[in-house]
Amino acid sequence: MFELGLQAIYSGVLTGGYYALVALGLALVFGTMRVINLAHGELVLLAAYVAYSAEVHLAISPIAAIPLSLVVVSLVAVLVYVLLSHITRDRELNSLILTYGLGIVLTNLMLLIWSADIRSTTATWFQEGAVLGDTLYSSRSEVIFFLVSLVLVAGLWFWLTRSWHGRAVRAVSSNRDAAMLMGVNPRTTEVLSFLVAGLLATFAGIALYTGKTIDPPLGHALTIKAFIITVLAGMGSIPGVLLGAMLIGITEALTISFVSTSLQDLAGMVLFLAVLLLRPQGLFGFGTRRG
């Protein structure tokens, strides 16, 4: 019983790392632009499909496909931004409709290009077991991308809080008018946010492709997961995303181990609702934020 619990928590933590990768880009764009990119999950999935094509046609490993995925996903991310930048009124609400629609378009494009078949990597190395201390089991992909996730969370946090470009990004998110009056070009910082979100989505996509199976409708599910984690974390909190993602991961894993696999998603949702009821600003959010 104890070992089962420990294994569940270990798996949950690793899954949380992957969830964090999926959610970071959405949290970043929300935190800096007050825009919820409902096509973010599709960007993650797109990165996975590019890796799949690279594997099939170029015979390269999913890791080697990262630069290619990065280019494709960044281009699409910038395209999303260009379309968003044409919204002049009520950007917070209208961007929901725009990005939701873009998500549908992307899903169908992927359906056209890669068909509805379920795909997975042929590089079985990633799915082989990695055993920690003789008792805790996981796949190599999970461990690798858990570590990647930690590095990217730390890197993102460092970029936002310590670099001047990151500070400009936060300046625009904190107060767009005031930042402009200080000479900051909000468009530059916003494009930058989208490019970084594209980078994060790429890594999430490679983690997805090496660890799980993919099919076109998955993008939508990823977006929802990312959104839940972003809200759970407290909108815009980067370390909160990692902890919120782990909380969801652990809750799901414990539910799978001790209750039933079919209740996995329900458990995550219940946790989410409980947090919304008890702490509407999210686990690490501020009481109020000024826009």
Binding site: R167, A168, R170, A171, A178, L181, M182, G183
Partner: protein, 238 residues
Amino acid sequence: MLRLENITVGFGGLTALANVTLEVGARELVGLVGPNGAGKTTLFNVISGLARPKAGTASFNSVNLLRKPVQARARIGIARTFQIPQPLHELTVRQNLIVAQTFGAGHRNARRIDEILDFIGLKRKAEENAADGLALSEHKALEVGKALATEPKLILLDEVLAGLETAGKRQFMQTLKRMHQEAGLAIIIIEHDIETILALCQRAVVLDFGKVIADQTPEEIFRNPAVMRSYTGATPGA
């Protein structure tokens, strides 16, 4: 230096500014007065780029302002403060100034930041978070500091003295005077308090219902019956 001609701004059916023409030279200190809703802040918004006029022209050192976005105007030397302080939350007081310097002035100079901190009296609070830990007067000082850090030629002050107690007000006015004299800035200041305008400015412009109704010395302004009527709703001595 700043030249506005026939600036007209409307929000829906409401005309906020009607044919406002105004010229401000280098090193001038101009008071902008008028009752609430007269269009004073809207005029600042037009100059800084936050509001777009329906008609009229605006130039700054012969550069057409209306074609430039807000951040570009900040970089050519127009700075402003807000009536309600708008610090960058999550950053410290010093970081607020450095962001303004890095992007507004286009270079980094740590000594200049220290001078500004000294000047606005926030040296001791430099490492405090700008969102909390500052009193109102300190928030107002930070507004001025951020504006100064962009190395402006013209600075627009929107009721920086409002809400301060008398001692704080007097101290702040000294800071403004020094700023004007030492840094050689042109300043336009929105202020309700007649004595402040009399003490600070060489020239006062009165806005009422979006129109310039007087442009004289402060002494003349406050003897002008039309001004006093719009300002207080009564004629002097009545």
